[in-house]
Symmetry: C2
Subunit: 233 residues, 2 copies
DNA sequence: GGCACCCATTTTGTCTACAATCTTAGAACC
DNA sequence: GGTTCTAAGATTGTAGACAAAATGGGTGCC
């Protein structure tokens, strides 16, 4: 029965997303903040905007709901999921374990060239903060995260992290736009890179842990200093 | 704009699944092993079996693909995803971090009654193994996992774990059906319960780690002793 | 004035039909 | 005999239409 499928490799994983044009467009719009938390996402409207049928949009929304970006209420529609501070902290707590694993794996297996590249990235990070270029710093930060995931060669962890990351983009953003915060976090990032380049898995895991715990603290104090501004719409 | 949705609580999460009848049926069938890995899942056929339209089945398959239970190849259909040994180990590695977190959280906040209940569960586990009732032992085991997740009160971690668990059911099953293995793992489980009941987060996290590392070892040696039997169909 | 009920509107959930794509088998050709 | 092209079959992707559910406003009643 069906000879063609039998022989396909179990590697694929990523390329499977081909026609998910609409899904990607909506996801990007949410992540970019074009659609704000709690905003309603009416299937017909979105189909109109992206010139796709309702069936396509519907599938996209279900997909995004599975990713945790969208909330669906039966017979009542979809809306952009609002990630509360508590949830954001939960996400960071989970990331401690998973990113720690990635960092450890990377430290254990990194190649010489990749290690060198990370070293350069380290310099760039420090430089961007010194120049006060927070946008560039945020970009390099994201790149570091992605790179460590890739280098860990851990598909499962990468999947989990990608999902978690997408959900908490908004909260991350609030933090990374603070110059004060950048000066602290850049040191922590440098420490992570140092441990990885030194090929010390335990130290890398610990460095990630320290960093994320620090982020949690920062989020907490940020929220107490400027009390709940839940009105996003 | 839209007053009804604005006030909905961000808790829901679970009850959102109402009409997912078909999704649940297919998921159960896969987890129970009714549909074996690599088996093709043709939308029209499934619609016939579950007396639903293709559109409904299609959505169910996309949902399951997002959960990692089903693999979709564009224009070529869906099939039950085969979790390789490497992937199963990856999943366990991730679980170390996340379940460790849950255990630590639970240990830090467990109530007296819940602690007592866990103590009783501990006795039942030991008893079931002593009597050689592996089916009962497996059931209790699942319950322990679920319970620790619940008690941790950590929605994000629970979500991640639920997803990972569903994927690796098959491999878990292979292990838990070995009497030899049960005798080892029951001690580890008892250690986890002890640490949680003693309200020692660090010890609980460590006990989980030890246990899962031991499972990884067991899986590895199991696969070397009975070399690749990839023919599931 | 407030409360319960009912109906119109909006939006989702489901089904059927059509188009696009891929696979497979067979025939023509070298 | 083997290879390439072509066409038929099977299966997925998309669109549009209908049915079901929930919301919101309005009317009647107390």
């Amino acid at each position: 029965m069906s000879s063609a499928l039998e022989s396909a490799s179990p590697v694929a994983e990523a390329e499977a997303a081909v026609d998910q044009r609409v899904t990607d467009l909506i996801r990007d719009a949410i992540i970019r903040g074009e659609y704000v938390p709690n905003q309603r996402l009416v299937e017909a409207d979105l189909g109109d905007v992206f010139s796709a049928s309702r069936a396509t949009v519907r599938i996209a929304l279900l997909q995004l709901a599975a990713e945790g970006l969208v909330e669906r209420l039966p017979h009542r529609g979809s809306r952009v999921r609002a990630i509360s501070l508590e949830e954001a902290i939960e996400i960071l707590e989970v990331r401690i374990g998973v990113e720690g694993l990635c960092a450890a794996k990377t430290a254990a297996s990194i190649s010489d060239e990749d290690a060198e590249a990370l070293g350069r990235l380290r310099s760039q990070l420090i430089e961007s903060v010194a120049e006060g270029d927070l946008v560039e710093y945020a970009r390099l930060n994201r790149y570091l995260d992605v790179r460590v995931r890739e280098l860990s060669n851990h598909a499962t962890a990468s999947d989990v992290l990608a999902r978690l990351h997408a959900q908490s983009v908004r909260h991350q953003f609030k933090l990374s736009s603070r110059p004060q915060r950048a000066k602290i976090s850049v040191l922590e990032h440098a420490a992570i890179i140092d441990a990885v380049v030194a090929r010390d898995p335990a130290a890398a895991e610990q460095a990630v842990r320290s960093h994320l715990l620090s982020v949690i603290d920062a989020l907490r104090s940020l929220s107490t200093s400027e009390p709940g501004a839940p009105a996003d719409s």
